[in-house]
Subunit: 238 residues, 2 copies
């Protein structure tokens, strides 16, 4: 009987080109031995695999696409390769798979089927932003996107701020990059002047900016930061 393969969860960079700066050597060794990948975007995946040392034979690899158009039945087929004894790599477009990123459904399916899932080390803006914020890392929640509509969003910000004070839980969230400035303004408008806001921007890039101030101090700053189109994680704590 053939041994079952494994599902490797393979992080990508957060936008930087130097993979050695943000991925362990062992990831490249593992990647080189995998022939089948589940990817979000074929072009991004090929570029990553080429840089990661799969150059020369990219065309011989098998790719399955996992994005918002993939239906659940297809996912199940993807795992057949593993049952035939081959390893599969689930590759993120940016950062680590399954955390603020697609992939959890296929991992869940693999877990259901008793397939071994192996997470590899890589950069996560959530984790790195939390580390550098100075906020509580013993108790924290990442809640994804806040509502778009302004009054709904303001209400949600107040809810999250309540949880900061009541549970001492750091709250982390993101916004679509072109609406980051509005989100930042909403935060400064809604939160208590004493609440701390950390803006963690373009983590691991040359332009990395991770700065924490109280709301009242952000308001006093003369030069306003421009977060438009910059990948940003927002964190609040007391």
């Amino acid at each position: 009987m053939k041994q079952t393969g494994k599902l490797y969860l393979i992080p990508n960079s957060l936008g930087s080109d130097d993979l050695n700066a943000i991925l362990p050597q062992e990831n490249f060794n593992i990647i080189k031995n995998i022939q089948t990948f589940i990817v979000e975007n074929l072009r991004t995946a090929r570029r990553f695999l080429s840089k990661a040392g799969h150059s020369g034979n990219i065309d011989k690899l098998d790719f399955f696409i996992l994005n918002e158009h993939t239906n659940t039945n297809e996912l199940s087929d993807y795992l057949e390769t593993i049952k035939q004894g081959k390893d599969i790599g689930l590759l993120s477009d940016a950062g680590v798979p399954c955390v603020a990123d697609p992939g959890a459904d296929i991992v869940s399916m693999a877990q259901n089927q008793g397939i071994q899932v192996v997470p590899l080390v890589g950069p996560s803006s959530i984790l790195m932003g939390l580390m550098a914020s100075g906020f509580n890392g013993q108790n924290f929640a990442f809640v994804g996107y806040l509502p778009r509509e302004q009054s709904e969003r303001n209400k949600r910000i107040k809810e999250l701020e309540t949880r900061v004070y009541k549970e001492e839980q750091t709250q982390l969230f993101i916004e679509t990059p072109y609406r980051n400035n509005q989100m930042f303004e909403s935060l400064l408008g809604q939160c208590n002047p004493e609440t701390k806001v950390c803006v963690a921007c373009e983590i691991s890039l040359e332009t990395e900016y991770i700065v924490t101030h109280k709301v009242k101090d952000w308001k006093k700053l003369k030069t306003k930061i421009d977060l438009k189109k910059r990948n940003t994680l927002f964190l609040i704590y007391k």
Copy 2:
């Protein structure tokens, strides 16, 4: 005027000896250029730095100790070195600094003083356990330790399970390793039979074990897993 140094947040392994397997090459380059470290345990730190390429000159390095005996006034002195233009490394005993790990206070102080804080990539059991669980990674909370006392702990488990169903938020928590089996029994006893429990054990080690089942299926397993003294992250989701 001298340029201010930076505070680097340096992850350690989760117990494995092969640092290349879990840390990017760039971390070693950065570490070699740092002469002053804030560490939890001097012996663990020296061993790590030696393996990371600081061998031969460990005795010339400066160490500050950061543990439960360190008082806040001392922390402030630690950062003086940075103001003199030297970089400092905040080094974790295991995993990444400041996340389920000491260090957030000194990072907070650095942020207050306008010091640049640079998080490096490394293994985090929280992040890797979440990735491999198959649970919701768009909304999750790590809540640290649950109460020791049984009725309090049971109540807390029910609270967390409520949040799973009401907010679709994955809940992650830990226990002192010698009490892991009791925690696991409490989870199986308190949670709904349909609730999923992921046990993520000894992540990144040879003995790594990350398995998700519904409560009712965990109860049916004939061979019971023994989690005693094994570093374990518990996750619940629906």
